[in-house]
């Protein structure tokens, strides 16, 4: 036995920093969420280019996911990890680098997103320099974390740590591969993937960002803080093993359920559905494990607001993880996709699971970190009930909105025509529910304000100097085998005895490698066929690259965040083809870096927008949507009629696209002039039809050229298809007025 004892203390200063960052950015993220909820119900609340829905929506999602939930995870992880390993974090400098680096990234996001710098990929909107910064900060976090694991004084790593390890590793893998892009400027890049492949990568990332940023780290927090608050061990440690490995194995496959009935290959879609349905087993195993940890302690739930928050959080986790698999079933998804149902599902998880687990954790941590009793238990109770009522209002109204709109989109009348052919009719039906959402969001935010007041008042009661307890423990001696390790004879007995797992728990780096293998193998099983099997994306001869002007217009479409409200993916349902036109083919988006299929239809699909309206219609519509459609909730974009097109920057963008394999031909040398020539044609057409003059060098012209091109290639005759791609793409102006109203 080793008689030497080490003395050390835990670094709680870093935990306090992350705690404050959590509550500050939680307030910001929720406030922006409330603002965009108001904008949907009351479009006059969109102000100028910066404070419009399309630019603020990603700010809301990034703020609540990466700033609020991210800081909450780090706050809890730094507290729990040190105590579970009986050691201080290896490097205080790296801990602080992680903290300040992460906050700098959040500030950079808060500045660049409203300015329109975005990669147009959900939860991965941040542009390439910020992505590089995220990678650097993440590596610092990971190095500090894994070296701390090797310095531990506890032989075994507890289940919470497994979840943190899996999260750190998988987030790194997801971040790197989904954000691979070619920079074309200090804050502009094009994804190296296009169309189907880009969609596949994005939702492999997007779904697993939810899994490994909002689920697994919070499960780690649950496995640590719930037993602490209840003062009893987790219900079943063995069940947690099943919970952990099943999630790691299964989650990574489920992404394609975000792309049902799109141009994704059917086999990938089916696979995503099957794995998603399987996820219900481990997820509910985890929920049951959490709730049964409170066996014999339910009386404490009545008295302790911390436990109330935890119980509601775990219940919301169970509800979300039941609903997720249900939504992944293709027939259900056919109704729910593109509707508010998905938004309601997300908010059950975000407000209930992530929000309430964070609140409960901080209520438990605050007295310990600030070494003063909680300012007011009564206020914490009030917070719980106000925010719970807020969640109920939010999700009930938005579930109703989603199902209502989904049913209206697919309704036919007795003559076989669409019952609600005007999209705006389905939007107007949602307005009362949107206002109820505003009320629910206001209540949730009010609860958060109460929470922050309570925590700040607790902090004010702190002592002049924090007491730093010294912990004494023996160093870990791994040279002696662990006594009483589960054993058995024969392969089966040894396997079910789980002694092998106990050994893994004592080897954190090996454990981490096994997690990486599980995640990587599962990912590659899906990704390799999607990328390599040519038949997955049948080419269409008439589909050509965007002209330089259209490419510039597409970038404006991305800048304004139009993809947040408009899909470009018509599903093969009669109710969709009747409303929008022929269903979308995989080959139509082979030059789309990034893909812009969208995930929500607050406005109609635009995949076949080209030729539907004259150019002048688009000009008037963008200038003031309500001049065309009085009930429209779309923001106005009058500045597009005065902002000048950056013709000089177009060449660089075309060159980058060419580098990615887009066959641009002559445009590689003459993009600027070609864009000017096409802009002159578009502007002349607008003026000829009675529109304003002098728009040739204005952004609106580029955007109109792009919109008029959408979905038109597939209608081109075979003769055009046979023309050299580069010449056709570079010289053919957009079909300015191919169709009528």
């Amino acid at each position: 036995m080793n008689a030497r004892l080490d003395s050390f203390s835990y670094d709680d200063a870093i935990v306090r920093k992350f705690l404050f960052a959590t509550i500050i950015f939680g307030l910001v993220g929720m406030l922006v969420g409330l603002i965009i909820a108001v904008q949907l119900a009351y479009p006059a609340a969109n102000f100028g280019p910066i404070f419009a829905f399309g630019r603020l929506r990603p700010l809301h999602t990034n703020a609540v996911v990466f700033a609020f939930a991210g800081n909450a995870w780090f706050c809890g992880a730094y507290y729990a990890t040190q105590r579970l390993l009986k050691t201080r974090m290896w490097s205080d400098k790296l801990s602080n680098f992680h903290f300040w680096g992460w906050q700098a990234i959040i500030v950079a996001a808060a500045i660049t997103l409203p300015l329109g710098y975005t990669q147009a990929k959900e939860y991965a909107e941040l542009e390439w320099p910020i992505d590089v910064a995220i990678l650097i900060v993440w590596v610092a976090f990971a190095v500090n974390y894994f070296v701390t694991l090797t310095k531990r004084r506890e032989r075994h790593i507890y289940v919470a740590i497994w979840f943190f390890i899996a999260s750190i590793i998988t987030v790194a893998v997801l971040h790197i591969f989904n954000n691979l892009a070619i920079p074309v400027g200090p804050l502009k890049s094009y994804s190296i993937y296009a169309g189907v492949q880009d969609a596949f990568m994005q939702w492999w990332y997007g779904h697993n960002a939810v899994a490994f940023f909002l689920t697994t780290p919070f499960l780690g927090l649950m496995y640590y803080f719930l037993p602490k608050a209840a003062d009893r061990p987790v219900f079943s440690y063995k069940l947690s093993i099943l919970h952990f490995w099943s999630l790691v194995f299964l989650y990574i496959w489920a992404g394609p359920h975000h792309l049902h009935y799109t141009a994704l290959p059917d086999w990938a879609s089916t696979l995503g559905m099957v794995f998603s349905v399987m996820l219900i087993a481990p997820s509910w195993g985890g929920m049951i494990n959490g709730l049964l940890t409170l066996r014999g302690a339910w009386h404490k739930v009545v008295e302790e607001p911390v436990l109330k928050f935890f119980v509601l959080a775990v219940t919301a986790y169970g509800m979300s993880t039941f609903e997720g698999p249900v939504l992944s079933i293709k027939t259900v998804n056919g109704l729910a996709h593109y509707t508010d149902w998905i938004i309601a599902h997300v908010h059950t998880g975000a407000l209930g699971w992530n929000g309430f687990l964070t609140f409960g954790m901080i209520y438990w941590l605050a007295p310990r970190l600030f070494q003063a009793p909680l300012f007011s238990k009564k206020l914490a109770e009030t917070h719980f009930w106000v925010s719970t009522f807020g969640i109920l209002l939010y999700v009930a109204s938005i579930y109703s909105a989603g199902i209502t709109q989904g049913l209206m989109w697919r309704a036919f009348d007795e003559t076989g025509r669409l019952q609600f052919p005007d999209f705006i009719e389905t939007t107007m039906r949602l307005m009362p529910m949107y206002w109820v959402r505003v009320a629910g969001g206001t209540l949730y935010l009010a609860g958060t304000v109460i929470f922050i007041y309570n925590i700040v008042m607790t902090w004010k009661r702190r002592p002049a100097a924090y007491d730093v307890p010294v912990v004494t423990a023996a160093p870990l001696d791994l040279s002696t085998p662990e006594p009483h390790a589960p054993a058995g004879t024969g392969v089966y007995a040894r396997f079910v005895g789980l002694g092998w797992h106990r050994r893994w728990e004592g080897m954190p780096l090996f454990f981490s490698v096994m997690v990486l293998v599980a995640v990587a193998v599962a990912s590659l099983f899906e990704i390799i066929p999607t990328f390599l099997i040519k038949s997955n994306v049948p080419t269409i001869a008439s589909v050509k690259p965007y002209t330089p002007l259209e490419l510039a217009g597409r970038d404006l479409y991305i800048r304004e965040g139009c993809f947040n409200c408009h899909s470009q993916m018509i599903r093969p349902f009669r109710f969709e083809t009747e409303r929008y036109g022929d269903y979308s083919k995989p080959g139509e988006s082979v030059y789309d870096h990034p893909f812009l299929w969208g995930s929500r239809r607050i406005g109609p699909d635009l995949a076949r927008e080209g030729g539907k309206y004259p150019a002048l219609w688009h000009v008037r519509h963008m200038e003031n949507p309500r001049s065309i459609s009085p009930k429209s909730i779309m923001p106005s974009y009058p500045f597009l009629l005065t902002n000048r097109t950056d013709f000089d920057g177009i060449q660089k963008r075309v060159d980058a696209m060419a580098m990615l394999g887009v066959p641009y031909g002559d445009a590689i040398n003459h993009a600027n002039q070609m864009a000017r020539d096409q802009a002159a044609l578009v502007a002349a057409d607008i003026e000829k039809n009675g529109g304003p003059a002098g728009l040739a060098d204005k952004e609106i012209t580029a955007l109109v050229a792009y919109l008029e091109r959408l979905g038109t290639d597939i209608r081109q005759p075979a003769a055009t298809a046979a023309a050299p791609a580069a010449t056709a793409a570079a010289t053919t102006p957009a079909p300015l007025k191919a169709g009528g109203n």
Binding site: V234, S236, A474
Partner: protein, 63 residues
């Protein structure tokens, strides 16, 4: 010259994702069997108590 996409495309690999599904499902069943089988519960009780004591290591010197 044929590209790698042509070569791999001709090999009919899309089915291997289904094979992977079956393999992963079997792995899931194996872990489930391990978890549900009777084992040394005292062992896991100790592991479950790890978060409850912030100051004393629970497992380096087990009895």
């Amino acid at each position: 010259m044929r590209s790698i996409a042509d070569v791999v495309g001709a090999s009919g690999l899309s089915g291997y994702a289904i094979v992977a599904l079956i393999l992963f499902f079997l792995a899931f069943l194996a872990v489930l069997a391990a978890v549900l089988s009777p084992a040394r519960s005292s062992y896991y009780e100790r592991a479950g108590r790890l978060p409850l004591d912030d100051l004393t290591p629970q497992t380096p010197r087990e009895p």
